[in-house]
């Protein structure tokens, strides 16, 4: 089965079958959207919560506000129905806590932003493994809709 790695700011998709994997989830959020009837799966790797004017030509998947709509569009293009889409998310960790001692960490800001934008588009979050102080790897099996999350020193979890 084909496996595609989704890097920071990227969005990838499969219909019917395929594995979408993202490895560097620190403060970033790995988001998956799945239509289990049309068997369409999309994965995004969100870097920051809000797009920035000075980041000219940035891929939409880099930011939560532009990334979620872009992921929905990609899903729909492949034959998904927005009303059937369900989301899962992983990441939003804080690997360097002392550096955000007096403010909300980027990881938490990302969690809040992704949650807010999914809600805005009426998409339910049916699985998540977020926050904490460690990095994650996320794998999305489009044929079954199963999403697994692994981290160093921890057992793999299915979300």
């Amino acid at each position: 089965m084909a496996e595609v790695f989704v890097n920071m700011g990227q969005i990838s998709s499969f219909k019917t079958q395929g594995i979408l994997t993202t490895v560097g989830l620190g403060s970033c959020i790995g988001v998956t959207l799945y239509d289990d009837v049309a068997k369409v799966g999309v994965m995004g790797h969100i870097f920051l919560p809000r797009s920035r004017e000075k980041d000219v030509g940035a891929p939409p998947g880099k930011y939560a506000d532009t990334g979620i709509p872009a992921m929905i569009n990609e899903a729909v293009k492949l034959g998904a129905k927005q009303s059937r889409l369900k989301a899962k998310m992983a990441g939003g960790a804080n690997l360097f806590p002392n550096l955000s001692a007096n403010s909300t960490s980027i990881g938490q800001q990302n969690i809040d932003a992704v949650t807010e934008h999914l809600k805005k588009h009426g998409i339910a979050i049916v699985g998540k493994d977020v926050a904490g102080g460690y990095g994650r790897k996320m794998r999305f099996f489009v044929d079954t809709g199963i999403v697994t999350v692994t981290a160093i020193g921890k057992d793999a979890v299915e979300i």
């Binding site: 620190g26 690997l95 102080g133 790897k137």
Partner: protein
Amino acid sequence: MNDAKLDFLKELANIGTGHATTALSQMLSGRLFQLVVPDAQMLPFAEAAEYVGGAEQVVVGIFVVVSGDVKGHMAFLLPLDSALVLLRLLIGDNSGEMNELARSALQEIGNIMITSYLNALSKMTNLLMAPSVPGVAIDMAGAVWQSVLAGAQVTNEVTVIRTEFFADGESIEGNIIFLPDDDDFKKIARLLGLGEM
């Protein structure tokens, strides 16, 4: 990619890593030296995202906020096995166990490397560049690297200096990441007589 900018970066890299290496070498009683001329690169975001080959490899990352006349961030990243070599040389610990003392030794190594680098730049430019208390993460390279980029709110380009050391018959790899805020990068360039960048 601006050639002048790249040459400037390489110059900064040479000076900064020279000082950092001397500092590290002193900590190891002179048993460490720099193997290769540091390789400085300015990576666009998409490439920076892929910079860490082997995103699942475990690395030690030390990350600071820089304040003063120059604002920004700096990080020192090294693969875990390189870190273990340094620990063996520094505290005679062969166990490979990442206990309190080992973590604090790594934090101190990173702190001294980064601060020495900044001290060198500061001396050349007369600009104050004060590092914060460092944060230390030991985790998958992809996650650590990405957290550094996000923490620094990197937009487009990332300066990476890769350098290799040789100590006690073993090769040690380190990456120094210098992330000044855009305006401050220009300030440094101007002060070093490199005109507008």
